[in-house]
């Protein structure tokens, strides 16, 4: 038993670290540190830098551009990326539709899409959630009716992240309503330029516009854009959702934030903005969350190591997700607490109020937007249901 990385892993970490340090454009780093909004172009730019290095899609099969990294290497890669303040890239492209097409797609689909997904030539969005089907994903109602070589789609998706940027959508649609609701779901790829698709932005409480409604009005999708068999979409979606375990707790991100929190606390204290007792209280809170984060990191590493040995605890991903999101949310509370009443103003003018400290006006939006991490990607209630079933057997 030991917690040390091997010499090879350390060498890999150094390689990744120095690459990130050199390759990440300064303006992107600055935006990330101040938690400012990233434009689509920012993400694309970075993804292409990674792709040129061969690291855009390390989790994919090697034949499609992936890296045959060990779980430890993937963990290191993600951690270093976060600590370097590098953007994460599009999870829809990298973690979701890419692996799905690589695993379940036809050769034609692979040829057509995979390289463009990796290079972010096509920006993908995920069409799963519907107004009547949130945590109960399989209750979706958007219908696809076969008409010759096309499916004709009518219905609505909601909470579609960054659909406003998207060139393509992967979507679950209902092709059959006769059986159990998990049956009769089909997995389709939609060109977002297809006539009949309307995207309506949804503003979120942090002032952002990442979420959208997407309406389908007789949208025709060629059958060749179907993944796998008709009616088996639920299986493909489940494969996709259960896929990634080494990054789900977002340890690297939280570590980077903790470093920032400590620096902010020190800075405020040095400038006389905190009383001794306020400082004492904040430092205790930081220590509390750091202990939890360290414990979660080690738990994550245990899962990573078990994965490397081929041992899988079915509910591990859910536990990592629950605690990881709780820690992320706890940290946003602490940022908000550090900002204090000066954090009330969140628009451009606020900049003037806080001597150019971008983090102050970003604190509250960050707190508000991060409420979503315990809702999206399988709400924490759903994760608890999964774990409970696993430990109780019913």
């Amino acid at each position: 038993m030991d917690l040390d990385f091997t010499a090879e892993e350390l060498a890999f970490r150094d390689e990744v670290r120095s690459f990130f340090r050199e390759a990440l454009p300064d303006d992107l780093r600055a935006k990330m540190i101040e938690r400012r909004h990233l434009e689509k172009d920012d993400i694309v730019r970075w993804q292409r830098i990674l792709n040129a290095r061969g690291w855009a899609v390390p989790n994919w099969p090697v034949e499609y551009g992936g890296q045959a990294w060990s779980p430890a290497q993937r963990y290191i890669y993600q951690e270093e990326m976060a600590l370097a303040h590098a953007p994460e890239g599009s999870p829809f492209n990298i973690n979701m539709i890419g692996p799905i097409i690589a695993r379940f797609g036809t050769d034609a689909q692979k040829d057509r899409f995979l390289a463009r997904i990796a290079n972010l030539d096509d920006w993908w969005c995920q069409g799963f959630s519907e107004p009547g089907a949130g945590s109960d994903l399989a209750a979706l109602k958007t219908r696809a009716t076969r008409d010759g070589d096309d499916y004709v789609i009518n219905g609505q998706k909601i909470w579609t992240t960054q659909a406003q940027h998207a060139d393509w959508m992967f979507a679950l649609v209902r092709t059959d309503s006769s059986g159990r609701k998990q049956q009769g779901i089909t997995f389709l790829l939609l060109d977002m330029k297809t006539p009949g698709i309307t995207v309506r932005p949804i503003e979120t409480i942090d002032g952002g516009h990442d979420a959208n409604e997407v309406f389908f009005d007789d949208v025709r999708v060629p059958v060749e854009n179907r993944i796998g068999e008709e009616g088996r979409g639920w299986d493909y979606a489940k494969a996709l959702l259960g896929g990634e375990r080494s990054g789900i707790a977002r340890i690297g991100l939280s570590k980077e934030r903790l470093i920032q929190l400590r620096a902010l606390e020190r800075d405020l204290a040095e400038r006389g903005m905190l009383t001794g007792r306020e400082r004492d209280r904040l430092r205790r809170k930081l220590a509390e969350v750091e202990v939890e984060l360290r414990a979660l990191e080690l738990t994550q590493l245990r899962v990573v190591a078990a994965d490397a040995h081929g041992a899988h605890a079915g509910h591990a991903a859910s536990i990592l997700k629950i605690k990881g999101t709780e820690i992320q949310q706890r940290m946003t509370e602490l940022v908000l607490e550090l900002a204090g009443p000066a954090g009330l103003a969140t628009d451009a003018q606020a900049q003037a109020n806080t001597a150019g400290e971008g983090w102050v006006e970003a604190a509250a939006p960050f707190y508000f937007t991060m409420r979503k991490v315990s809702i999206f990607g399988g709400a924490n209630e759903i994760q608890r249901n999964i774990v409970a079933k696993s430990i109780l057997g019913f």
Binding site: S135, A211, L344, T354
Partner: protein
């Protein structure tokens, strides 16, 4: 011991509830916020016509002589509606400064106009790089003949941009003092910002602003004592507002639990959510009790008054966070959209905790005072 409203108080409650119900549907509020100035002068006039702007002022000043309970009634209703108009800034906060420290002439020149809805005021105290609970302002006021010259910068002034006059804290040679500063004066620059809770804020700069002698509120050196009292009254009002926002949040959440269906049943049939809803109700009821305590404490001796109001602020700080977060979580994605009221209530509850000392700060005050007992 009596927790019933008097007949007059019940009429007041009904009136302000009706105002919110009739004029403050959530969609209306969103339109008001998106409009010029971020709040509605029409609504303000309506509040004036109802007599609500005169409530806490003395009868000799033209008001109705209402006390803590009356303000609690109004603020609770405004909290339910997430009302964005400058009641807290003008009537409660600036009003408290006038009530507690202004001369008869100063009051006569302003309170009737406030009551009529034609004079908007607020308090400008917070400054950049000022420790959060400090009275130690960098803004200065120099004697200049009979009058004063002010220099400095104030931030996060609630409703500062639409205000006719701001009460500004500044250092004089004899200690901190408060000044009445018309926003139209030469040298005053007010730039609007927006609070995350929708409150229009302002940044105010004062560059050698010339004020007459009667712009001084109270005496030089009395600023801290006046502000402390103003903050107590404001906190009591904020606590009541929070209870209104919490009750609205709780009602919306239970309604959602009853009507939203997942896995073919209402989500309110899931026991984990049911139990958490009960914990929300408990927090709400405890907060409600503490809002009553705060309202009834305003006339107590200083030490007990301060402690009771601190305790109430602690309770709504803790409860507001819990209720806001839980309501958002139980709603799921809809809870974090701007198109739904719960997210806005959550933001306002977050702001209320941050304003004038968060729960941790007030716990420290109580701990230092050896607890709540006299």
């Amino acid at each position: 011991m009596n927790f019933e409203f008097s007949e007059e108080q019940q009429m007041l409650a009904d009136m302000v509830d009706r105002f919110v119900a009739d004029r403050y549907a959530f969609e209306t509020r969103q339109k008001i916020m998106a409009g010029d100035g971020g709040w509605s002068r029409e609504n303000w006039s309506a509040l004036a016509e109802l007599g609500l702007l005169g409530l806490p002022f003395a009868e000799e000043d033209g008001g109705f002589g209402g006390g803590g309970v009356e303000t609690m009634i109004i603020m609770t209703a405004l909290g339910r509606g997430l009302v964005i108009e400058p009641y807290l800034s003008t009537v409660v906060m600036a009003g408290a400064a006038l009530r507690n420290a202004a001369s008869q002439e100063q009051r006569a020149a302003r309170i009737p106009a406030i009551i009529a809805g034609s004079h908007i005021m607020s308090l400008a105290h917070q400054e950049p790089a000022m420790p959060r609970h400090s009275f130690d302002v960098a803004t200065t006021a120099r004697r200049a003949g009979e009058g004063w010259r002010l220099d400095g910068c104030k931030i996060s002034v609630p409703h500062g941009a639409g205000a006719d006059e701001l009460i500004v804290s500044a250092q004089t040679e004899a200690g901190m003092a408060l000044f009445l500063v018309p926003t139209k004066l030469s040298g005053v620059d007010v730039v609007r910002a927006t609070g995350y809770d929708g409150t229009p804020l302002a940044t105010m700069t004062l560059a050698d602003v010339a004020l007459p002698g009667d712009a001084l509120l109270g005496e030089p050196g009395q600023g801290e004592a006046i502000l402390a009292r103003v903050f107590e009254e404001t906190n009591a009002a904020l606590v009541a507002e929070a209870v209104g926002a919490m009750r609205e949040t709780f009602d919306l959440t239970t309604e959602y639990l009853k009507t939203r269906t997942q896995f073919d049943v209402p989500i309110g049939s899931f026991q984990a959510l049911r139990h958490r809803a009960v914990d929300m109700l408990i927090e709400l009821e405890l907060s409600h009790s503490m809002a009553i305590l705060a309202a009834l404490s305003l006339d107590l001796p200083g030490d007990q008054r301060r402690k009771n109001i601190s305790a109430a602020k602690v309770q709504v700080g803790r409860s507001g966070r819990m209720i806001g977060q839980e309501a958002v979580q139980m709603h799921g994605a809809i809870g974090i959209t701007s198109e739904y009221k719960v997210g806005h209530a959550f933001k306002r509850l977050t702001a209320i905790d941050a304003l004038l000392g968060d729960a941790d700060h007030h716990i420290d005050l109580i701990a230092d005072a050896d607890g709540l007992a006299a």
